[in-house]
Amino acid sequence: MSWTTDEMMSVEAARSLVGHVSCFVGIGLPSTAANLARRVHNPDLVLIYESGAVGAKPTRLPLSIGDGELAETADAVVSVPEIFNYWLQPGRIDVGFLSAAQLDRYANLNTTFIGGDYAHPRVRLPGSGGAPEIAASCREVFIMVRQSPRTFVERLDFVTSVGFGAGHDAREKLGLRGRGPVRVVTDVGVLEPDPVTRELTLTRVHPGVDVADVRAATGWELKVAPSLEVTEPPTEEELTVLRGLVERSKP
């Protein structure tokens, strides 16, 4: 079976969820990956949506984080203040799954604006939503984003959510208690923070992707791990389930 780069990205992100108990899920790419993981890689994964659904088991991909099926299939339904105060903030959720319009080499994220300045932005984006505290408080953060020089930038126009700040121990100095973004899964490979500098380093390319392609898709001088690996291609099961999920979720 052949596959698209988006499919490879979703499959690889879903695989990251093996061994984790709970995942705070945003809409879009992270939702696809988390729902795929619950079907194939980790059937007991607890999906938590900021709309208040704890342990949701949707049969299709919700268009919004508040689709009715989330509440109807959840183990518990709680208020929005409670989701943030009792569930996210204390660090009891294993994985936070985020995406972004811009990301820098320390995995800081921008979902606020691009171009111009804050008061007069060229492109106004939706803003922070739950992301700043998901990035701060989950035990680990996974990021899913399609890699391009417009997205992987030298300098963010706005820091909406913190990864590793200016690198090294900047994150700890800010008092953030979760480990931060431990994996960035893109359509061309996987990046992980250097253990010391926390700079994102290419550790894996997807099948058929050259390192040169990844460099070209990165807006900074990309570091590459000496022992670069190649992602396992999607299995037939992974692709079948993923496609079924997407198909079932079409309007």
């Binding site: 809409i27 879009g28 900021e50 709309s51 208040g52 659904a53 919700p62 268009l63 919004s64 984080i65 508040g66 689709d67 009715g68 989330l70 509440a71 109807e72 339904v77 208020s79 929005v80 203040p81 943030f84 105060n85 996210l88 903030q89 800081n108 606020t112 804050y118 007069h120 932005p121 060229r122 492109v123 106004r124 984006l125 939706p126 803003g127 922070s128 939503g129 739950g130 992301a131 700043p132 505290e133 701060a136 408080s137 706005f158 820091v159 909406t160 959510s161 913190v162 700040g165 900047a170 994150r171 800010l174 008092g175 953030l176 208690r177 309007p251």
Partner: protein
């Protein structure tokens, strides 16, 4: 005790020019019809408060009702941008829009503080982000026990909160269930409140995951069947995802938006 009113009378009575108005409903039970009525009555200079502005605030902003927006996430969920919101922020059309921007956790806690009669709330949030640079309602507070520095957000106290619920009884007690979002806090934080409901019934049967707002903390209740569409009301109708996608097209151009306004909101107005 809450008064039973028509939607038009409820908006006329409770939402005034210049008010700080919160329309809440987190992806579910969004008070969409109430928002249209505010536009129809041509309210002006409102400070609009809402965690997720959604298409209801895109409409209010495009129609020129708003002076200021207090929010955390301003998109069309699962679809993309709110084009009227963007046009106001990027181009000042139809009028400049001040923004006061938080995270979800910050906004939720601002309502909690309002509902609790406290001037501020404490949370672990905002550290290292650029949000506080542009927003004076985000500060810090030091724990008097550990010396730790934490984020503080000021309380939100709307002049009026409008929500949609599944039911009320004839005494004005309100019941909502499913994803109940931040509606209880938004009503309890407000000076006045208007609740639109799918139906008024004789008795509120207890339901799982239900929130009840007693009549004596609600100002007025209006029966507005379908009042949350194209959002949904669990137990009554589902989310009209197609309408959210269609809004993307309607809202992309000022002209199409204005045509929509004339046709769908102001047509037949007195």
């Amino acid at each position: 005790m809450a008064e039973l009113v028509t939607l038009a009378d409820g908006i006329a009575e409770l939402v005034r020019d210049g008010d700080t108005v919160a329309l809440e409903g987190f992806t579910h039970l969004i008070p969409s019809r109430a928002a249209l009525e505010i536009i129809r009555q041509r309210r002006r200079e409102l400070t609009l408060v809402r965690m997720t502005p959604d298409i209801v605030y895109d409409q209010l902003i495009g129609a020129g009702c708003a002076r200021r927006l207090v929010f955390a996430w301003g998109g069309n969920p699962g679809v993309g941008s709110l084009h009227r919101l963007r046009d106001a922020v990027e181009n000042g059309w139809p009028a400049p829009l001040e923004i006061e921007e938080h995270s979800h956790a910050g906004m939720a806690n601002r309502y909690v503080a309002g509902a609790s009669g406290l001037p501020f709330a404490v949370l672990r949030g905002y550290q290292g982000t650029d949000l506080a640079r542009h927003n004076d309602t985000i500060r810090t507070v030091t724990c008097p026990f550990t010396g730790e520095e934490l984020a503080a957000v000021s309380a939100v106290r709307p002049d009026v909160t409008v929500i949609h619920a599944q039911r009320a009884d004839r005494q004005g007690n309100v019941q909502l269930w499913g994803l109940v979002g931040v509606q209880k806090e938004a009503v309890l934080a407000a000076k006045r409140s208007l609740v639109t409901v799918e139906e008024v019934v004789d008795t509120l049967e207890p339901r799982p995951d239900a929130v009840v707002l007693p009549s004596w903390v609600v100002t007025a209740v209006a029966e507005v069947p379908g009042g949350a569409k194209p959002s949904y009301a669990q137990g009554y109708y589902e989310r009209d995802n197609e309408a959210y996608r269609a809004w993307d097209q309607v809202s992309r151009s000022r002209e199409r938006f204005q045509a929509w306004l004339s046709e769908h909101v102001h047509a037949g107005a007195a």
